[in-house]
Symmetry: C2
Subunit: 458 residues, 2 copies
């Protein structure tokens, strides 16, 4: 879909003369994000905006225009879309609110946009949208300032909160498409675009409701064997569904139906934003798990028990370690120390030092044919006197030598974030904030592995 590509030239219809703080000036924002293409402001009341010659209407622009961004009051939007089509513009992003998300008049205006799109062949994204963001090309139609991150994560959503708030959901965003009210282009179109986009490896979809669910599932069924798609379905509850109807003006559907259909199509459903975050990071850095047997290396018996609970709750097995694997740590531990899985290495490391003991335990597990993935518990060694409990180098090294078995870590102590970033360098390990989230992440990677194996055999 051309409209999703990085445009070379953009007309900004309803460009604002106000700039600087609190103005939400789109042109200013496009420039500071790094857009290098041509910008044609359209505003009949201005002669010049931010050093650019303005046009009274799009028809006055004599050069070719790839994309129009329409930001006028809602009443004028359909005429503007008509004019874009008449001027040969193939795509328009309609930013304003006040359509199917508002009142009956807004619904009628949106219906007109749909007809214009159908009849004139102009593709429309929106209304009620921040449009698209492309950190690779530097294009954004968002009037909200965003950080430019060239990362292979594509977001499809129905609200700007996922652009500005990407750190709270996927953690990062390389490209974004806000389908919003979806008067023309919708989830399936956006997903199809990311399907063919080599810069995008992981796709996240925030979905309140969709009108062409069947087509979305068809596209998803084609995409998911190649690229993971995570979906956060909102409007799950009765009250939430009612609210979604008025927010994006789309029908919501029964949550159970969605979830079953998603799973069938290989889409990974997320129940809350933290799942989105953990799963995105896992997909970017770890391979799917080839079985459900998890090994645990721990400093702490209590941490191991929290994990055993979580593994059982998420349908994973605590791996039966081979006697070779346990034997190596038994040798390093006091005779009375029971060694199993979770493997508590504390007494051993007090005697033999962390490097030797953690490496022996973790490599032993990764070599053990009875283990499909490992959770590492270790200290975030940021306090003075904890440096000698730093297992991060060992964990990272082992994980990078055994990429076929995913390793998820939980670091505890002050400055978990900073300590985790060091551990994650190189992309061999994912470090999560809590132990249950470590188990849940591996459970998802196990599901993903099962899905891919089924697809490979089908």
């Amino acid at each position: 879909m051309d409209i999703f590509m990085a445009p070379g030239s953009v007309a900004i219809i309803g460009a604002s003369r106000k700039t600087d703080k609190g103005s939400f000036n789109l042109i200013e924002n496009m420039r500071s994000f790094g857009f290098q293409g041509k910008i044609y402001p359209v505003n009949p009341l201005a002669r010049e905006i931010m050093g650019l010659k303005t046009f009274r209407s799009v028809s006055e622009i004599k050069e070719p225009v790839d994309l129009a961004v329409i930001s006028t009051p809602r009443e004028q939007v359909p005429d503007m879309a008509e004019e874009c089509a008449a001027s040969g513009i193939k795509g328009a992003i309609v930013v304003p609110q006040g359509f199917a998300d508002a009142d009956d008049e807004g619904k009628a205006l949106q219906d007109r946009l749909t007809s214009i799109s159908r009849q004139r062949g102009i593709r429309i994204l929106g209304p009620n949208t921040l449009g698209t963001v492309n950190a690779f090309s530097g294009f954004t139609s968002s009037f909200m300032p965003l950080k430019r991150e060239k990362v292979p994560v594509g977001i499809i959503c129905q609200s700007g909160i996922f652009f500005v708030g990407a750190p709270m959901f996927t953690g990062m965003m390389g490209k974004g498409i806000d389908v919003a009210n979806g008067c023309d282009l919708d989830f399936a179109d956006a997903l199809e675009y990311f399907e063919g986009d080599d810069q995008i490896q992981v796709i996240f979809a925030h979905i309140e409701g969709m009108n062409r669910g069947r087509r979305f599932l068809e596209v998803a069924g084609r995409v998911t064997p190649k690229k993971p798609v995570i979906a956060l379905k909102c409007g799950r509850t009765e009250r939430g569904a009612r609210a979604a109807l008025s927010h994006s003006g789309s029908l919501v559907g029964k949550h159970e139906v969605f979830e079953a259909a998603f799973r069938q199509a290989g889409v990974v459903p997320a129940a809350d934003p933290e799942e989105v975050l953990d799963y995105t990071r896992a997909f970017l850095n770890l391979r799917p798990m080839s079985g459900n047997r998890v090994g645990i290396v721990t400093f702490s018996g209590a941490g191991g028990i929290i994990l055993i609970d979580a593994l059982q709750e998420y349908g994973l097995e605590t791996a039966q370690l081979s006697s070779r694997t346990t034997g190596m740590i038994k040798e390093l531990s006091p005779a009375w120390m029971p060694i199993g899985n979770p493997m508590d290495i504390w007494p051993a490391l007090m005697k033999h030092g962390i490097e030797h003991v953690y490496r022996t335990a973790l490599r032993g597990m990764l070599e053990d044919p009875g283990v499909d993935g490992v959770i590492c518990i270790a200290i975030a060694p940021e306090l003075p006197g904890q440096e000698h409990l730093d297992a991060r180098e060992v964990i990272r090294g082992a994980a990078s030598d055994f990429p076929e078995k995913p390793v998820v870590a939980f670091l505890y102590g002050h400055h978990q974030d900073a300590a985790s970033k060091v551990l994650e360098k190189g992309g061999h390990v994912v470090s999560v904030p809590t132990l249950p989230r470590a188990a849940r992440t591996l459970a998802m990677l196990h599901e993903r592995g099962r899905f891919l194996r089924e697809k490979a055999c089908a």
Copy 2:
């Protein structure tokens, strides 16, 4: 219980001569934590440790000793405990592992400790414990370096992971008691100690299993109307329970029984570590909710819908706002904008600025008799160009003027943590990482309110 108090003088039995990096030297650690009391190292092989005269045995110490910390090999521990009792020492912390957490011999050694305690009147904490931490007095028996934070949070646990990893659970720790294997002192004793401790306002208990559950519940029933007690029950699943048995050597019991009994006693059960964190912070800063009706101020319709789902899932109501409350924002919004709860103030604030609009909306809700608590959605205004979307000052001001209605915030954007710290200054608002956690926190404060009202009427 004297053993939990800050001791003036401590004998360290089995004091190590090794110091510095990786030595886990307790005396070194006590000093760097800030302990000002007297330390008597006991080690028959040394003359002097860290500038302190050593003793061949506790009986050689002629001054009064408040507390002994025993760190010898396990076989020697019972004799050392006997000797302490003979020397008039009233309390001992037994650090080493290898007791009921290990093998049959360990179990027998632990039974001997229990008998010594009963017969000789010496109270014992442990074995297999980091002992106690008291940031107020500067005492710690932990050989692991810890941060000293004078905060009113007391932790009772069965593992050192909750001391070192306090930031991952309660977020902070002012005092800690690791009851560990609990050969003598147990949860009820620790809870009773915190009951009478004015420096502690919120209590967290990590529980794998306990032998005197009835007494714990009795004490809890007395404490919870005065101070909130949060419990993380581990070993919930069948496999987890088996593991807990071997970790701390205690019986675990059916999870459902625990949970029902906890609730009856007013203990707040937490299902995962993030609940512990959110609830601790909520108890420290917010009052209980007097009803279940929640108002939502939001920049984003989609964020509102995520919350509506979460409120319904956690048993709360989306408040019916008075026409006065909605009217004030309707006046500031375009005519087509539906204004209700969640209250989407985006169009209004684009026109009238964030300060005026956010203040009007939030104060309106806090004044509305149909609202018992509020969730604020706002941007974490840390990117250039977002400064004019900074609602933090307004939120903090309104929340501090209406302390009887708890306000929880969700800030989205890069640097959520830093932005939240600013918002939380003064302790009027709690800012959480995700929207579902905001709803869950208010649901807990609603439960707490209901419990306290029931107690007040009983």
